[in-house]
Subunit: 225 residues, 2 copies
């Protein structure tokens, strides 16, 4: 499954609900940026409402074309609620740095975030479900899917896969050094950025790994953040 | 402001809404674990509802005693909604690893997460607000607050600080190697864990830093994740 390269599609236009009201310079909506931010992440936060109470569930996700996907046990409270077609807020945020200004007030964080509003759809066909799960596996560890035993019918049945079209999307990004009050630049206090990123460690063999199985090359390609 | 060491308080008991229904072995609710997971993080995801639509806003947070805090511009849509006392879901999640099992079905992620339901309160007194902001600064960069110029009245006014008591809390943790189907352990496919963590980079001086200001020692103590 080759991810379509469709950043040539129109950029996202702010709706009444996704317009960034403050700090407008931090709001970007171009499709390429949105896709890059989504493709850099592994964990999203899905917001939904049950009996008036908001819930925010962290879960793994992936993107294909103009859709995001997430999945889990068919018994999951989140998935059972969201698959009914209720309103969802899908959020991804990457922390990129501490911005230490010369005042507490102008101290901030560097980050990239996507907030998408919409309604999720359940993927029902066995082939479509399998293809979606394969895409998720291949995005993280290209080549691994073919090494695994085929997914079984009852495993597919026990797995719910949802997808949501990216339509109402807000994207916020902050980069760069602090923006201090002009008179504060004279202060003799250190200011700058402490970068924060995601570290991928050396793969750890399963204690029950069969002897003679080397670590596959795709483990070195895992990239998140 | 010394953070109270109150892990001697009673542990969290699951409510109807926070009971972990599946994979019960992953649910832990002891106060010490909850506080450790919260103190390891910097970015939370706050869920709230406006006109029936759920929103999930990523924002910086901190913990003091049995409360979590977050803050921002008084003009923030999230803060203006949440300060009214509406129902909130406060979620923190740390991604700790990719769990690559011998089947796609048992592949998973290692993580630590906290989901807290409640209602936030606005901190109104100038002294209380300043103390809360100091606690946030000191949690990240101990000793820096005293180096900064004092926060100004109008800056305090332009900043909203909210706090929420930790009462209805769910905590989920997955650690360790894959749990494969017994017959799959015979397969000659690599399995194990790819650790994921947070990397703190070398601090970058502000391009406008006054000459002769060295990087303070507390920059080396920044720890997130």
């Amino acid at each position: 499954m080759t991810p379509p390269n469709d950043t040539a599609m129109p950029d996202f236009r702010p709706s009444e609900r996704t317009r960034i009201k403050r700090l407008n310079q931090r709001a970007v909506f171009d499709r390429k940026t949105v896709y890059e931010i989504l493709d850099a992440g592994l964990m999203c936060h899905v917001g939904y409402v049950i009996d008036g109470q908001p819930y925010v569930t962290p879960t793994a996700y992936w993107r294909e074309g103009d859709r995001v996907y997430w999945h889990g046990s068919s018994a999951s409270k989140m998935l059972r609620a969201v698959e009914k077609g209720i309103d969802v807020c899908f959020t991804v945020a990457h922390l990129d740095g501490l911005v230490l200004a010369r005042s507490g007030f102008h101290s901030s964080i560097n980050y990239r975030s996507i907030i998408a509003l919409g309604v999720a759809e359940k993927i029902t066909g066995e082939a479509e479900k399998t293809a979606a799960l394969e895409a998720f596996s291949e995005r993280l560890t290209p080549g691994r899917w073919a090494e695994l035993r085929p997914i079984q019918k009852q495993e597919l049945k026990a797995t719910t896969v949802l997808s949501m079209k990216l339509e109402e999307v807000a994207c916020k990004v902050r980069t760069g050094p602090p923006g201090d009050d002009e008179e504060d630049y004279a202060l003799d206090v250190w200011a700058g950025v402490v970068p924060v990123g995601t570290a991928i460690g050396a793969a750890e063999d399963d204690p029950r790994l069969n002897p003679g199985i080397a670590q596959p090359g795709y483990l070195k390609q895992v990239k998140i953040g």
